[in-house]
Symmetry: none
Subunit: 282 residues, 3 copies
């Protein structure tokens, strides 16, 4: 049973060939929270939370975190990448092997939550690491990026007050995108995202519960919270994420679709299969 | 609870403003089987099966076919329309009131299954009616259209051998689209669609059963058949239709999503809310 | 669309006529968390959390807690009742109007969490009130009952250390039943219920989330936690509750069924419609 729509060099060719006109942006689903973003040629190519290896299960063959499908591309194939945004330090978001290979194969820079940059330094050679901090905007080619704190499931800062869990506001080519990272819903998050007015929101829907928490699996907003959150803040298109890769920490995305269909029948969403491209137009 | 994403002149403005670049096509969900298609400016604007009134419930207040949401546009607003394709004579596909208003407000022509053109003639004034026949291709501006027979739930022809139930193969701007009309799956349909290789297939998912049939509701392919059919013939993107407008003849589209997610995890689909635009890129 | 299977005197006749043989017990779904329990004739008739009025919406017409279906019986019809168990003080569990009518029409006693008995006293005339306390077993005819603390969503005690949120272990005619009241999952709950080894567990599945909590709706275990909890402690039959009555605080029970079907395909459960009887046999 093939789980991936397009992969490897075929996918990378599609990325290269994709041309963006007008106010629009293209993105690809890399699985779990991994998103590849492309604006116009001048805007460049950005990747969020690439888990493009099997590091977790190779390091610990007994882990319950076994991939349901192979990496859609090898990290070394991301040769044209201009930047990588990492939301937090969990292995399925900050994968040092993927980062190392990306650093070898491209000129990408790396935006890493400030408290975690020491973990990454030895793996990226001379590539530039940006210490991402709450509210401090920065630019990667045409992408304007503002980190915001995420609560996974609590807000957490280091001794300097820098947040270890981040989400990202991204503006490119007239489009505002919000990648929440791993987070629950908080009043602060609602307020910030409402102000940002994202066209597209990438939101986890796998939730959290007593049993996963007791096995060390930190929770996220639930499918229901992702829908209610989007309605509360105003989102044009919801892209549910963080449900496809690990069967042990999955939520059936159909619950999300069912809840939307009955509760918010006019709310746009798009469910992506691994390796799928979606071009969003304003 | 708002059921419509965008409607009325706001929607029509979006239609006018939507620019198509490269090999792509834009379409809007008008509800039930109604689709509005736009290619490049030269390609023009095409509409399939517009049910943009409340004719059914106005004619028979006791009908079980009551709209769950209002028409997303008034038919008279479709001023730039170049063509209307009708798949068959049922009221939710061939709505004489919608057709009459479209004829008044635009220069559109009307492609009607050959056996049904007499029903339409008095309603369209001097506008051109094309008698659509199985396998006989015709052109509306940039749209190349080929009717194929549909089985709802049997193939049915008039005394001249012309089919009363049709689907349409549509080629525009490098994209091949298939609107099945109302049909079940047949060996002939599989063969024809496999040969056509559609990028996008608009397929009913509401199915049919003894009880609906016994109330005079003619069946369609089921959500499961739509998924298996797409896998059998090869479809890049499935757009499920014919489930949103009439609660009495609905199938929960979530069953379709659930079946795809578990059985065809690499199959792209997009579920549209009423009044939503989707731009498909090759 | 009738929402109730059987109601009123027809239901009460069924209750009277139901004969229990061997090790078994009969119960009826009264809606929300309301359960009516019958053992042999000697065991008597017990009711848990009866919300058999419209008190909430009558007191506050603007409440979002509006019944989706009428009371399945009038509380005054419960003439043969021997006892009422109340799990906690929320209006849909401790309904003073239902209690008052039951006290008028029957010889029932009332087991109320110790911190709440003063609320009830004026409503039950000379009927006996039992102050239910964690771990202190008591008997109502053939029913042996042990209150245990519930966490809704925290454990809460009064100044004397008595819990305001309770669940009940109930043994009757060789059958062990657990009615959790409103609670989340805790390590203590797992330990206690595992030791009790219930044949039947009545568990809420409506969960809780940021948005309901922020509207003052206190959470329960989710459908997924109810399933995982049952697997963790060992339950022969799960009866999901607390999802049918209030659309604003409902969870689609289908998510529960779907999760069980895929994750615990050998776990027995029974989903009850309002007014339905189920006879459980050991």
């Amino acid at each position: 049973m093939a789980a991936i729509y397009k992969s490897g060099e075929e996918l990378m060719n599609e990325v290269r060939k994709t041309k963006i006109y007008g106010e629009s942006v293209s993105f690809w689903n890399l699985g779990q929270a991994g998103i590849l973003l492309k604006g116009t040629e001048e805007d460049g190519l950005l990747c969020i939370d690439p888990y493009l290896s099997r590091s977790i299960e190779e390091r610990d063959p007994k882990t319950e975190f076994k991939r349901a499908f192979p990496p859609v591309v090898d990290p070394g194939m991301l040769r044209d990448l201009d930047g990588v945004l990492v939301t937090h330090g969990h292995d399925d978001h900050l994968d040092l092997l993927s980062i190392k290979e990306i650093a070898k194969g491209s000129d990408s820079m790396f935006a890493i939550p400030a408290p975690l940059i020491s973990l990454v330094q030895e793996h990226v050679g001379k590539k530039y690491i940006h210490a991402a901090k709450d509210g401090e905007s920065f630019t990667i080619k045409g992408f304007e990026i503002t980190p915001i704190p995420a609560a996974h499931t609590e807000y957490e800062t280091d001794s300097l007050g820098n947040h270890t869990f981040l989400g990202y506001f991204i503006e490119v080519n007239g489009i505002r995108l919000f990648h929440s990272g791993d987070t629950v819903v908080t009043p602060e998050l609602i307020e910030k995202v409402k102000e940002f007015k994202p066209h597209v929101a990438f939101l986890p829907i796998n939730g959290g519960d007593y049993f996963r928490t007791s096995r060390g699996i930190i929770g996220n907003m639930s499918f229901r919270e992702a829908a209610d959150f989007s309605a509360a803040v105003g989102v044009d298109l919801i892209v549910p994420i963080h449900y496809d890769m690990f069967p042990n920490n999955r939520e059936n995305p159909v619950y999300f679709v069912d809840y939307l269909f009955h509760r918010y029948p006019n709310q746009k969403f798009h469910m992506m299969v691994p390796g799928e491209r979606f071009i969003y137009h304003k």
